[in-house]
């Protein structure tokens, strides 16, 4: 996925194109001037904190929310703008809800066959069974939703969404109701089914680990705006802003003066985003700080402020010159007392 402006030259139209879309609720802006592209066979994760507008975006794509400004195109066809509105049942988008939303009065098989009205009955059941097989639940076809575990319900919900063969599938925090081991098992099964379908997938989540794990493309959202859309790797290593960096986990953020691709900070000079100049931030993860009990080249002396034991790791709060940083290192690399020296990895730090 790319920002739509940079993707304008693509050969075939993307499956979903969101162009400068805004949505307000009264005086509150839920989504502001947001552009996004979803491509065939690609899994895009929309990551953001609660209330950032990500579910609103998903609902606008699905057709459950109108838009105030901008356009939404599905396979090159305009489905929503300030004066066009194609109803959800005509968009052919597969949808998976947080709570599964299975029809409680229908069996599992009937649930999955619900979207297959255009087929003959025999063919319908056949396709529904195939869809159930793809999530490994063909043997529960005749069970009722309330007899299934939460994870199984969610797998049925995915099978139901995939059964009609949609080109686009949207998932709204589909795993957030599940816990622990079941969560990752269900996630693996579901993501495999989604990949096999070849659909363009948009998964909304607030869990950075999940987003990094499953996304081909990551879209970071905050306060109604899209901050960054890129591969998980790029988003993690080259965040566009301190807010974007924090969405994917803890980060050290130090004021910097950026000039000609170099960030000048209190703890040295670092490579910077060449597009930035003037006041900026140096951003690096706690894992990217090397700690040593002895002075080595490029290492700076540091004072220990506090120390937290996390099992395999320790988290150190350190004073380095005029700034405080957090470092996360293996427990056995730092002695309990004595001097500490640190080095920030120049390859993985980034100024924005």
């Amino acid at each position: 996925m790319r920002l739509s402006d940079s993707g304008a030259g693509a050969l075939s139209p993307p499956l979903v194109e969101v162009r400068h879309v805004s949505r307000r609720f009264g005086s509150a802006v839920a989504v502001r001037d947001l552009s996004l592209i979803l491509n065939e066979g690609e899994i895009t994760c929309l990551l953001g904190p609660s209330g950032c507008g990500k579910s609103t975006l998903l609902r606008m794509l699905a057709g459950f929310e109108s838009i105030d400004d901008g356009d939404i195109l599905l396979q090159g066809r305009l489905v929503a703008s300030s004066n066009v509105f194609v109803r959800p049942e005509r968009r052919g988008i597969g949808l998976v809800f947080q709570d599964g939303a299975l029809f409680p009065h229908m069996s599992v098989l009937e649930n999955v066959a619900f979207g297959l009205q255009r087929f003959q009955k025999a063919r319908r059941m056949e396709r529904a069974l195939e869809a159930l097989e793809s999530v490994g639940l063909a043997d529960r076809a005749h069970a009722w939703p309330h007899m299934l575990s939460g994870g199984e319900q969610q797998r049925v919900a995915v099978a139901r969404a995939l059964a009609p063969g949609p080109r686009v599938v949207l998932l709204d925090e589909p795993f957030s109701g599940l816990d622990g081991a079941m969560k990752s098992e269900v996630r693996d099964i579901v993501m495999m089914g989604l990949r096999r379908s070849g659909a363009a997938v948009l998964l909304v989540t607030h869990d950075p680990v999940e987003a990094l794990l499953v996304a081909d493309c990551l879209a970071l959202m905050s306060d109604g705006a899209l901050l960054q859309a890129a591969s998980p790797e790029i988003c993690f290593r080259r965040p566009v802003s301190p807010v974007a960096a924090r969405l994917l986990g803890e980060a050290n953020i130090i004021p910097a003066r950026v000039d000609l691709g170099v960030a000048h900070t209190a703890i040295g000079d670092f490579p910077a985003n060449p597009a930035v100049s003037g006041e900026g931030h140096l951003i690096f993860r706690p894992e990217e700080v090397d700690v040593s009990p002895v002075q080595m080249p490029d290492f700076l002396p540091a004072t220990l402020i506090s120390r937290r034991f996390l099992g395999a790791f320790v988290e150190l709060r350190l004073q380095v010159r005029s700034v405080e940083i957090t470092a996360r290192v293996r427990s056995d690399t730092v002695p309990d007392d004595g001097p500490i020296f640190v080095r920030i990895n120049r390859e993985t730090s980034w100024a924005a």
Binding site: F25, G51, G53, F64, E65, L95, F103, P104, H146
Partner: protein
């Protein structure tokens, strides 16, 4: 998203309703409201009524309504709290039996008490003979009417409060107690405020029924606006005068509905994730006996004594079996067809009017209007039909109008449970259906309707019981010599033939009791719970 959204669940945006469902809903809604519009037309179109005495009627209606409200509110609340919260002898029976007075027509209670407490009645003569004491209480009076109407209508408060207390989570009360609130403070500060909307709803229903009552107050010689409406029409023969007397009733009805909505607005408490029923507490032996005594007393006054007396009187006479059977069949067929018709319209209305509360309110005004008022709105077409003669076509037409009157009168009662049932369907279920290619109408048919089946059944039973007991609209709109059980009971009673009057009343009771028991033991809600819990 989590920002505040004006249209709550987001499914019912204005651009998203297919005209089809919308039109059906509007048609149903206007159908239900039409008789009331008729009343307005007649009232403002006709000549001035004789307003002498109107002030007195209005005052006695008001006094009656306020007195009944202040009796049924505490009685309904206390009985509900007792059966939900405490263990005492008879609790499991009381928890459904206390709703049974709903199956008794209120005029039958009036007949029974008027006879029991009559000057020559058994209570007074007994007291006189044994103690030489004359009971200083006249049943044919305002206080008498308050006792009778309260006996009949406290179950509205009881049922509504019982449901509210049952929904409350034990966790909430425990939290209050962990913060240092004793049981009494927890009741006052937590359980009670949480149940306040339910109290408002229950009392509003009771007051609406009080204002609407004709048979009981007329029999007890209390002149209210409702009796004035009927009298203006039957004695003075002036439809426009009747319609004008109906205006203050309509205004009261609308303001009651408004009050009830106001009480409920923004007070829809939802159970949190950790919901667990309130624990049932043990009482000391003395307290348990007192609880049993109190519930028993309420049940005796409202049901056992009057129905027992009716039974005694009934067994003392030879019933006119043929007439009873004919009236029974008539009542039953009116009840079944009327409730079916009403619920079909109510379903159309409730489904099509999702997210359009105004339409629901509009169609529900009839429930707060006495049957006599609805009848006034339909008198113009009825008299037109009768002017054409008394052939079979005319009888069929006027029966259709009578069913229509029931429908318009009871639409509010029918819509309420269906609307609540639809509310319980999570928006994501509806959205799932849309995302799988079904439009609103087909979603309504394949998802909403099957999920609201229990609610539809409940609403059908409520309407059925109400039609069985209905008197004034039937009296005014029925074709000549077309008797329901309620009509013959009232005729017999006015002829002072109480034994004969008791037979049809008891028959109504027998026909309605199963429905009331099913409703009060939570048939509808348990059905729904089983279906939607997962």
């Amino acid at each position: 998203m989590e920002v505040n959204r004006p249209q709550a669940a987001g499914w019912s945006g204005r651009e998203r309703s297919l005209p089809f469902l919308k039109w059906i809903a509007w048609t149903a809604g206007i159908t239900a409201a039409a008789p009331l519009l008729g009343v307005l037309l007649v009232a403002f179109g006709g000549s001035g009524a004789d307003w002498r005495g109107a002030g007195d009627y209005a005052l006695s209606s008001l006094v009656l309504a306020v007195s009944v409200a202040s009796v049924i509110a505490p009685i309904g609340t206390i009985t509900a709290w007792l059966v939900v919260r405490y263990r005492f002898p008879g609790r499991s029976v009381f928890s459904w039996a206390l709703a049974l007075p709903l199956a008794v027509p209120v005029f039958a209670l009036a007949h029974a008490y008027a006879d029991l407490l009559d000057v020559a009645g058994p209570v007074r003569s007994g007291l006189r003979a044994s103690f030489g004491w004359s009971l200083p209480f006249e049943i044919r009076s305002m206080p008498g009417a308050v006792v009778v109407l309260s006996s009949a209508f406290y179950p509205y408060v009881f049922l509504s409060m019982k449901a509210a207390f049952r929904q409350q989570s034990g966790v909430t009360l425990e939290a209050a107690q962990s913060l240092g609130a004793g049981p009494r403070l927890a009741l006052m500060r937590v359980a009670w405020p949480l149940a306040w909307p339910a109290l408002a709803a229950g009392v509003a229903l009771g007051v609406m029924e009080t204002l609407a009552d004709y048979g009981a107050v007329y029999f007890l010689s209390v002149q209210t606006l409702t009796t004035a409406v009927v009298r203006a029409w039957s004695v003075e023969g002036s439809v426009s005068a009747a319609a004008q007397f109906a205006l203050p009733l309509l205004a009261l009805a609308v303001s009651l509905m408004w009050f009830e909505r106001l009480m409920r607005a923004g007070r829809r408490f939802t159970a949190s994730a950790g919901w667990r029923p309130m624990p049932v507490l043990n009482l000391s032996p003395l307290q348990a006996v007192l609880a049993t005594f109190f519930c028993g007393l309420v049940l005796s006054v409202s049901l056992i004594v009057p129905v027992g007396w009716l039974l005694i009187k009934a067994l003392g006479v030879e019933p006119d079996v043929g007439r009873l059977l004919r009236a029974g069949v008539t009542s039953l067929s009116l009840g079944v067809s009327g409730s079916f018709l009403t619920v079909v319209l109510a379903v159309c209305l409730a489904i099509g009017a999702r997210g359009r509360p105004l339409l629901l309110r509009l169609s529900s005004v009839g429930y707060a209007a006495p049957g006599a008022v609805i009848a006034i709105g339909l008198l113009a077409p009825v008299s037109l039909i009768w002017r054409l003669g008394q052939g079979e076509v005319q009888i069929v037409l006027s029966l259709i109008l009578l069913l229509y009157a029931y429908c318009a009168r009871l639409m509010g009662a029918a819509v309420e449970p269906i609307d609540a049932g639809l509310d319980r369907i999570s928006p994501s279920i509806m959205q799932a259906s849309a995302s799988l290619g079904r439009d609103d109408a087909r979603t309504a048919w394949s998802v909403q309707l099957p999920l609201a089946r229990g609610a539809c059944l409940a609403s059908m039973l409520i309407v059925f019981v109400d039609i069985m007991k209905e008197l004034p609209a039937t009296l005014m709109l029925r074709p000549f010599n077309f008797d329901t059980l309620a009509v013959i009971s009232s005729h017999y009673a006015l002829d002072e033939r109480l034994g004969q009057a008791a037979w049809p009343s008891l028959l109504i009771l027998v026909l309605s009791v199963p429905a009331v028991i099913w409703l009060s033991s939570g048939g509808a809600s348990s059905h729904l719970k089983r279906r939607t819990s997962s």
